[in-house]
């Protein structure tokens, strides 16, 4: 990852969302992007130029554009038509973003388009977040990484966030995933946690 002092940046064409430019690189704001927050509060994962990424819950393409600066190709899945328009605009300017309008909970809708990936990144506002990750893990190479941004409030507003966090961790471990890191994203994002795990070699 590229740091200038304590500012996380990525190399690429700027002006995607009026982000600040520092020394010719795009500043990756931890307040706007949960992945950037993960690098600030924890270790995170090293994004490398050869990586293939399946990104679930791409939204406006803000974080996607930064990820695309680092890796080879990003398959960006988004369900809602409104953010999809922004994502398309970003894709037209970047050759390595493949925009897919589909429901992340139904991988069979986009299975024929996506190849095996090194990283599965998920940031969806749905109740069944662990299940969605598991349903998509057939795209993930063995030994590949899963980064799950857990929106605890989307799972169940009545439950304590810490309880939801534990349940999700349990669900992932019982499915065989090996958890590398799990952190809360405070103070950048409240009631959001990041879980980094690897798909085991069977």
């Amino acid at each position: 990852m590229i740091w200038i002092g304590d500012v996380l940046v990525s190399q690429g064409e700027g002006g995607v969302y009026n982000e600040r430019i520092l020394g010719g690189a795009r500043v990756w704001d931890p307040h706007r992007s949960k992945l950037s927050a993960l690098y600030h509060v924890g270790t995170g994962i090293e994004l490398t130029p050869g990586m293939r990424v399946l990104y679930l819950g791409a939204a406006n393409g803000t974080t996607v554009s930064h990820v695309a600066d680092y890796v080879e190709v990003v398959y960006a899945v988004e369900f809602a038509p409104r953010p999809m328009r922004d994502l398309l605009e970003v894709s037209r300017r970047r050759r390595n973003i493949i925009p897919i309008m589909a429901d992340a909970a139904r991988p069979e809708q986009y299975a024929t388009l996506v190849e095996a990936v090194d990283l599965l990144y998920q940031d969806v506002a749905q109740p069944e977040q662990a299940n969605i990750a598991l349903r998509n893990c057939s795209f993930l190479k063995t030994g590949g990484l899963l980064v799950l941004m857990l929106k605890t409030r989307s799972v169940d507003v009545r439950k304590e966030p810490s309880e939801v966090f534990q349940d999700t961790l349990d669900a992932l471990t019982s499915a065989g995933f090996i958890v590398q890191e799990s952190v809360w994203l405070a103070p950048y994002h409240h009631d959001h946690a990041a879980i980094v795990c690897t798909k085991p070699v069977v």
């Binding site: 925009p99 309008m101 069979e108 299975a111 190849e115 095996a116």
Partner: protein, 287 residues
């Protein structure tokens, strides 16, 4: 054989699919692989198939197809009949808020200019007050009052359009509670599909979110009605049966919304029975 967007692969063979972006998209949409035994595609196979020169060529073509596919999906989503109604009714509610806020503020301002003015014992409706303010005030205040009147006119036109569009998009729901309230239900649910999927109990308290969550978290009583309170048969019902009327009405609305989504035309035999049942509940009072 496993099917992918560019063709079918299996047994060491590869059958290329020939077509333009649109036929490829139709193909992608028609394939629904079993995810348990699914093997993700390998781009090398696609190159071996002969359709792509190298990885860059493969990704460029895939991106082009995916962009066209997404544009098509967006168009399809927005051309749904309820998409515009959603925006119309939300605009209507927003205009209401703006009119109320502005009139309140303008009235305060008018009071400063006319210290003797009072609304007590006058029974002045709001729109008459705004008219007086416009006629009796010079400068910006008069203009603000004028703008409020303009907005109110726009609101009337919009309300008629919302009502008419709701009759068209959701004939059964509109017949039960009127176009405006039906459109508000639609707006809260987020679309006709989502509304048709809601259980009656959710429709009953749609729009009473604060009360509902207060009920779930603490011991406060549960809300009896949300938006459907705006319908006359609910708010005119005697207090002791109001909750019952709301429940029966919500039950019928859930059926009506499904008829609207799946059938799309009025179902008179359902409506007659439903109206009769709702009216009967309203009449029945506890002795």
């Amino acid at each position: 054989m496993q099917s992918y967007w560019f063709g079918d692969v299996g047994d060491g063979r590869c059958i290329l699919f020939i077509g333009d972006s649109n036929t490829i998209i139709d193909r992608v949409r028609s394939i629904s692989p079993n995810m348990d035994s699914f093997v993700p595609l390998e781009w090398e196979q696609a190159v071996l198939c002969g359709a792509f020169r190298d990885r860059i060529d493969y990704l460029t073509k895939l991106q082009a197809v995916c962009i066209v596919a997404a544009e098509r999906s967006i168009r399809e989503q927005y051309s749904r009949k309820d998409a515009e109604l959603l925006q119309m009714v939300r605009t209507l509610d927003e205009i209401d808020t703006v009119i109320n806020l502005l009139s309140e503020r303008a009235a305060e301002w008018y009071l400063v200019r006319h210290p003797a003015f009072s609304r007590k014992y006058r029974r002045t409706p709001a729109h008459i007050l705004v008219k007086t303010m416009r006629e009796k005030s010079k400068g910006a205040l008069g203009r603000v009052a004028g703008e409020i009147e303009q907005l109110a006119e726009t609101r009337t036109i919009l309300a008629k359009e919302v009502s008419a569009r709701a009759d068209e998009v959701m004939p059964n729901t509109s017949a039960l509670i009127g176009g405006l309230v039906a459109a508000r239900l639609l707006s809260h649910a987020g679309g006709l599909l989502l509304l048709s999927r809601l259980p009656a109990s959710a429709i009953q308290v749609l729009g009473a979110r604060t009360a509902l969550f207060a009920h779930l978290k603490t011991r406060s009583p549960c809300p009896k009605h949300g938006i459907i309170f705006q319908h006359r048969r609910v708010h005119n019902a005697p207090r002791d049966v109001r909750g019952k009327v709301a429940r029966v009405l919500a039950g019928k609305l859930a059926i009506a919304a499904r008829l609207d989504y799946f059938r799309g035309v009025e179902a008179p035999e359902f409506l007659d029975a439903a109206q009769e049942r709702i009216d009967a509940t309203g009449r029945r009072s506890v002795p």
